[in-house]
Symmetry: C2
Subunit: 314 residues, 2 copies
């Protein structure tokens, strides 16, 4: 009698390579999507996936035994969940595991941009701090209006931290949340017009692409700051760049981009802008928790048990 | 009968030039220390001063009618208060008026340094964010140990904000504060060894120069971060630079320096370092409050009334 070979699981992207040893430690055979042998497609049962990367039906259709896409990330905007479920493929994600990490980075971006910390560092290093030339004085963060787009786990964790800085807080999202401790504005444009600082913390979906439109950007205005720690697709990036260039928007701080990695040339010469390389959600503390939960989801699936953190979607 | 001329007040440094119109609006004659006519020395009654700038007895002795040094700043480390008082010269400062502004900048420096926000911005702009080369993963701020040196108004406002990020907080200062909501460590070196992040928020005096010594810096250690928003003189800057260079200290973020403006060349090639140009305490909201209080002190002094915010010193 032939022995049953260990189950095969696939990594969808090279950025996930560091977790390969953890999968091998489970006794699974590991396949890599970027160097996949034809024969190996036939028995891939689960994919470990970085949820923001597009996972095309064209690829998924070549995997007859696939039953699970386990996202290591909180977001799963690269996965067509409805398409998967219609074919009996489950989708899981890292539910709520990095909200605190994203929130602390979000506040760091807010203060770094609002109080000119990145600009101040550059000024000193370029030798521009002299007895005659000091820094341009900025307003306090305290007392400003802090608007949050999307009051999920990240939005709430960010607002709770912002509160300690003495800002006024309001939010908008598509659904009212009667339990929320902060007032919901009637519309996104209303929130943007009210806000000195607008923090984007929404889940990205097929429906809300470009939600932060030219109109929303202009409503935040010449003295305002937009911070995005959610997904690049939520912002009309060309409109944001144009508004920064001609002063219709005061400032921006971005951790996420339309395409990632974003090219340096795209941002050259644009004023009042802080950029980080999609680093808000991945910390030495958070990544093992997220990978652990994804592996746990694969283990449960292979054992025929219920999933730990399936995507909850209508 | 000759009319009494309006009182003469003096600005001590060119950086205070922007407040000249406010003094003229009071009807005072304004003298400038950096272009002072001999005859004008004779009736200078008050000096508007930036407290961190040395105000030498050699200058003060040439001003026979001087009765007040009104610091626009919170700090007054450039003023020899005992020398002044022995000669009947009062000293006032901006008591507690910018603690919140300094605290928000302090937390901005903490997060920008701890979560690699300044380094991330530089990485993207230098084209170093590529599909193969991502960011170096950092620990969360949450759960770390946050030590505060000096629990005055700035230390307390910083700790209150840090608390919202889920850090453990402890402090050290020369005097116990039984009302403080956070535990005091037995010594500075004990606090430094305990801390992942050490925030310097002490008043600078003649006695605590170089308080943050090589030993304290090494106690914070290779994975630790030192943030200084107080005064450059509190830190042994050469020891700090050496420790950053060879990895005995992990990171630093500095808003204040041994000499200001600090020259760019001094910081070239030193890793894991965020610099801002003494901008923590001066905001568009705070500066008018501080200038207003200093002008109020001069007005009260000239009218023979009690002073609003005299320096409280043993």
């Amino acid at each position: 009698m032939a022995e049953t070979p260990p189950p095969r699981v696939m990594l969808s992207h090279p950025m996930l390579s560091p977790i390969e040893p953890a999968l091998q430690a489970e006794g699974w055979r590991v396949a890599r999507a970027w160097e996949l042998a034809e024969a190996d497609r036939l028995d891939v049962r689960a994919i470990l996936h970085a949820g923001e990367v597009p996972l095309t039906p064209a690829l998924l259709e070549t995997l007859p035994e696939l039953g699970l896409v386990a996202c290591v990330s909180v977001g799963y905007d690269g996965v067509d969940v409805a398409w998967c479920r219609a074919r009996g493929i489950e989708v899981t994600h890292a539910a709520g595991l990095n909200a605190e990490d994203v929130a602390e980075h979000a506040l760091g971006l807010v203060i770094a941009a609002w109080r000119d910390i990145v600009a101040g560092d550059r000024m000193i290093r370029e030798g521009l701090w002299t007895a005659k030339q000091g820094f341009a004085v900025r307003p306090s963060l305290r007392g400003r209006r802090f608007g949050v787009v999307g009051l999920g786990a990240i939005g709430q964790a960010s607002a709770a931290r912002a509160q300690a800085f003495g800002v006024d807080i309001a939010w908008w999202g598509p659904r009212p949340k009667p339990q929320a401790p902060w007032p919901r504005r009637d519309s996104l444009i209303d929130l943007a017009a009210w806000s000195d600082i607008l923090l984007i913390a929404s889940r990205a979906t097929a429906e809300n692409r470009g939600l932060i439109s030219r109109e929303v950007i202009e409503a935040v205005g010449p003295r305002g700051l937009i911070v995005n720690v959610a997904r690049g697709a939520l912002v009309d990036e060309d409109a944001l760049i144009a508004a920064l260039r001609d002063g219709r928007l005061g400032r921006a701080a971005l951790d996420v981009f339309q395409t990632e990695p974003t090219p340096a040339a795209r941002w050259a010469g644009i004023p009042n802008l802080v950029l980080t390389p999609h680093s808000a959600g991945g910390t030495r503390d958070g990544i093992p928790r997220m990978v652990g939960q994804a592996v746990e989801n694969v283990r449960g699936f292979l054992a025929g048990q219920s999933l730990l953190s399936p995507v909850q979607e209508a």
